[in-house]
Structures are given as C-alpha cells and as structure tokens.
Amino acid sequence: MSIFEYNGSALVAMVGKNCFAIASDRRLGVQLQTIATDFQRISKIHDKLFIGLSGLATDAQTLYQRLVFRHKLYQLREERDMKPETFASLVSAILYEKRFGPYFCQPVIAGLGDDDKPFICTMDAIGAKELAKDFVVAGTASESLYGACESMFKADMEPEELFETISQALLSSVDRDCLSGWGGHVYVVTPTEVKERILKGRMD
C-alpha cells in the first residue's frame, strides 16, 4: 500500500462567484481500521486563506504547523496577511526543500486574493503547483472527485449553490473510496463571512 494511502483522505476546492468553497472528508484511518471520524483536514491561515492537507496525517500536521509559523512571522514583519498566490509559492518552496525526503502530503490551497478574487490551487508532494480556474482535488478519492466535479461544476455559482455542488461532489466520491468518508466538512468563504458546515453522509 502506498504511503499516501495510509490514512485516507478526500479534499476538494471550488471557485464560485466572488467566493470559494473547500471541503474534506472526516475519516482518519490506519490502513483499514478507522480510528477517528472527526479529523480536521482543512485549516485556516487567515480569514481569506484556507489550506487543506491530504495524505499522511502526521506530515499534514507538521507541515501545517510550519506554515502557520511562517505566516505568523510574515504577518509580524510585513504587517499584512499573505496573499493566496504568495502563500502557494511559499508552500511550493517548502515542499521542494524536502525534494529527496518529502512530506507525503498533497495540499489544496483556497483563498480570496486582491479585490477578493477567488484563488485555488493544488500541488504534488514536492511542490509542483497546479492552478485551476474551476476546481482542484486531492486525496485517495481524487479520481472519483475529478469525475464528480467535472460533471457537477458550473461557473459563477452563488455561495449557496456552490455549497450544494461541492457537498454532492464530495459525498458521492467518498462513497466510492473505502479509505475516506464518515461525513464531510465544508467551508464556504465570501468576502464578508466564512460558513462552516458538517455533512452527514454514509457513515462507513
């Protein structure tokens, strides 16, 4: 079994009209045993920037701590929040530092940039950035997620419709993957508010 499939994960981010949504599953497993059903895969960097980390959970936690560290120092030095594009470049650089002994994580970054323009991207474990205008996916359920998103996605969705779409895409995809599931965690972010919602899907 690949090291990326040790804990199991599903992550997806989608762009809407002046908003974005980022969603993850909630299962934490050790190969085939489920040990937690409330695992947080998505974390806030600042009010308009979220990062989800799929893959090996220990690396996801350590990487997250390092990124928060870097961002806090940046905030203190530059007296401003990091733009999503800048943060993505930083994550890419940090991952490539470990080119020959990498973090076994695939990050999904979503944020509102200048003029509150939605920004999403993903990258592989050694920092190859993949920018997208519509959606990005990561995790053990990524193949199903690609299919679900491709068929369900529409451009310029309002926050409520975006929430419905991303939730349906996530739940239907994790049902086809034994290593992810046990519900969903969705953040819908607009320039004025962040809505966090828990989904109940097939609990298995």
């Binding site: 030095r77 530059e78 733009k83 594009e85 800048t86 470049s89 930083l90 650089a93």
Partner: protein, 235 residues
C-alpha cells in the same frame, strides 16, 4: 574567523556609551560626496554629485546610483567599494525573497534586511562597519518611499534628506523648499537646485547623477542629456 587573533569584535563600547568605530564611519560618510533624496506625491528622486578624480576618467563607466530591484534604487555617500558590496548583498536578498514568494520585495523589507547586514558588521569578529550611508528609493504597494540607512544599521524614512559633505546646508534648503504635494518633476528641479547650492564648479549632466521612480514603478537613472534638459529648465 574563529581562530584568528582578531576574532573579537573591533566595535566596542567607549566609557561614554558610544561605539567609536561607528562614529568614525559616520565621519567617513560625512566627507563623502553629497547625495540627496526627495519623496514626491507620485514618485521619488535621488541624486548625487559625480566628481571624478581626474578629467581622464571615463565618466560613463562610473555609475553611483544602482538598481536593487526593478522598482527600488539606491545612492550612497561614503566609500564606493563598501557600497558595491552592499548592493550585491541587497540584490541577492531581494531575489531570494522573490524566489520564495514570487512577489517583488516590499521596500521596507529590503531596507530592513540591508540594515541588518550593516548592523552585523558592527557586532562581528574581525570586520569593520561599512563606510557608507544609503538612500533607498522605491515605489511599491505602499506608494513612494525613501529610506536612509546608516553604518550603524539604523534606518529612517524621510520625506527629503541629504548626506555627505554639504549635508546641513542641503537639509536647510530642502526644509524650506519641500511641500507634501510636490510632483515628481518639481522634486527633480528641487534636487538639482539643492545640489547646485554646494557645488564647486559648473554643474552639468556629466558631473551629477539622478535616479527617479514614478507611478510606473520602474526605477531608472537619467541620461546626461535628460539631466541637461532639466538643468536648462531650472536656470
């Protein structure tokens, strides 16, 4: 550096609480050629005398005003070779920032890093402080900015400032002439007039250097022909 007989810091406190080496460094700056900077409402101008030791020197090969990034320029008063070292280090810092964040370095961040380098050389073994003061001019998301960095590593943001030989006269002149709503062209004229105040001999496009940055965020050094045009307007 560790094993040398000079691996202690040569910049040590005097009983009066001063760092004498830094004071001497400031003296070196004070006997250097005059340079000045003016922050306008829509840009920044920096300028310096370019007095060459002999008429045989090819003045086109000497450039005292240097670019640190496409939108940040710098001029100095003091020791030219020390300036070159700082320019080299600053350019590297700016590029490292860009490599990490894929964003141009903000002026304040670059100034802070240069100042940190200069401070290191006042507290390390076997080195001496830099014999230059820098005037850093840049235009970024926070608008036009002008900073002075001293051999001690302290930095200040200025609306207008001067350094070098004629500093007190130049500063008095600038204090009288400076207005907050000055445009970039007015600032260039004022800079030329300020340099003219203490200039020995005939001022021309060949013996002064002027660098400007406007809202286009592109720092550039004026050609001698352009300087002569401005000189014509001033007379």
């Amino acid at each position: 550096m560790g094993d040398s007989q000079y691996s202690f810091s040569l910049t040590t406190f005097s009983p009066s609480g001063k760092l004498v080496q830094i004071e001497h460094a400031l003296t070196a700056v004070g006997s250097g050629q005059t340079s000045l900077g003016i922050k306008a409402a829509n840009g920044v101008v920096i300028a310096t005398e370019k007095k060459l030791p002999s008429i045989l020197v090819d003045e086109a090969s000497v450039q005292k005003i240097q670019l640190l990034t496409p939108n940040i320029g710098v001029v100095y008063s003091g020791m030219g070779p020390d300036f070159r070292v700082l320019v080299r280090k600053s350019r590297k810092q700016a590029e490292q920032y860009h490599r990490l964040y894929k964003e141009p370095i903000p002026v304040t961040q670059l100034v802070r890093e240069v100042a940190a380098v200069m401070q290191e050389f006042t507290q390390s073994g076997g080195v001496r402080p830099f014999g230059v003061s820098l005037l850093v001019a840049g235009f970024d998301d926070n608008g036009p900015q002008l900073y002075q960095v001293d051999p001690s590593g302290s930095y200040f943001s200025w609306k207008a400032s001067a350094m070098g030989k004629n500093v007190s006269n130049a500063k008095t002149f600038l204090e009288k002439r400076y207005t907050d709503d000055m445009e970039l062209d007015d600032a260039v004229h004022t800079a030329i007039l300020t340099l003219k105040e203490g200039f020995e001999g005939q001022i021309s496009g060949k013996n002064i250097e002027i660098g400007i940055i406007g809202a286009d965020k592109k720092f550039r050094v004026l050609t001698p022909a352009e300087i002569d045009d401005y000189l014509g307007e001033v007379e």
